[in-house]
């Protein structure tokens, strides 16, 4: 009961702020609504008993990536762009295509609605962080190293892009 209430609370919060993020004229407002949506998603993660991911989501997304976004929004001047049309010319075609995509996915849901039941009986992981660490550093060690190289490349790329004369 409480689980369902919390799920719908976080879900409505996430969807509502996502819609507001896409439609707001002011970019700073959009960024704040994106932060709200990401925090609501963190709540969903907590409901799914992924505590490590919950903390990672808040620290990395809300604390790291969003600060980066707000930085860049402040660097490019937004007073001029506030007066302009916010949606591109193909918006009706784009919305129609998105509706087509939605109908397709809903059809897939409808077809597969019986095959997804209650799921296999699983023991609840008591130590989520430990389990994630075990999987990450034993079974997924190579992808982990590749991810670290990806981060190095991204760092070099960001530094090069940030140079004054490019």
């Amino acid at each position: 009961m409480l689980n369902a209430f919390l799920f719908y609370f976080f879900a409505i919060l996430a969807v509502g702020s996502a819609i507001l993020m896409v439609t707001r004229r002011n970019i700073v407002h959009a960024a704040v609504f994106l932060i709200t949506a990401l925090l609501a998603t963190a709540g969903i993660f907590l409901l799914l008993q992924a505590e490590f991911l919950f903390v990672t989501q808040i620290i990395l997304y809300v604390g790291g990536i969003m600060v980066l976004f707000v930085f860049v929004i402040m660097l490019v001047n937004l007073d001029v762009s506030l007066q302009l049309v916010q949606f591109s010319r193909q918006r009706y075609v784009a919305v129609a295509l998105a509706v087509v995509l939605a109908v397709q996915v809903l059809g897939a849901f409808w077809v597969g609605r019986t095959s997804v039941g209650a799921g296999p009986a699983q023991a609840i992981e008591a130590k989520n962080t430990e389990a994630v660490g075990q999987a990450l550093f034993q079974h997924y060690l190579l992808p982990f190293e590749i991810a670290s190289i990806l981060l190095l490349v991204a760092m070099v790329g960001a530094v090069v892009m940030g140079k004054r004369r490019i």
């Binding site: 689980n3 980066l68 790329g157």
Partner: protein, 100 residues
């Protein structure tokens, strides 16, 4: 745990909103933010299935996706800054020249 369909439907809704954002907005920063929303929706899917099967593999993949999102945001915002310094705009439909 609620039926997994609820989580899948939430993920799908966020994904579609993100797609609409990428396709309709002119501002490149909002498009990047919509991409973050899409990646986030996929993460919900992965974590829901990880809970469904009782393993942590989906959560590990979600961590990798968050890493990718961080890398993408860093490089993408760097490109936007460099572009803005050269052209004084962040609108997607102004970005129509290969060199200037």
């Amino acid at each position: 745990m609620l039926p997994i369909g609820n989580y899948l439907f939430l993920s799908f809704t966020l994904f579609t909103i993100g797609v609409i954002g990428v396709l309709t907005r002119r501002n490149v920063i909002v498009m990047l933010m919509s991409i973050e929303l899409i990646l986030n929706a996929v993460n919900i899917n992965l974590v829901a299935f990880s809970r469904y099967w009782g393993t942590v593999d989906g959560q590990v993949f979600a961590i990798f996706i968050i890493t990718d999102a961080a890398a993408e945001a860093a490089v993408g915002l760097g490109i936007i800054l460099a572009f803005f310094r050269n052209r004084q705009t962040v609108l997607a439909d102004e970005m129509d020249m290969l060199r200037w």
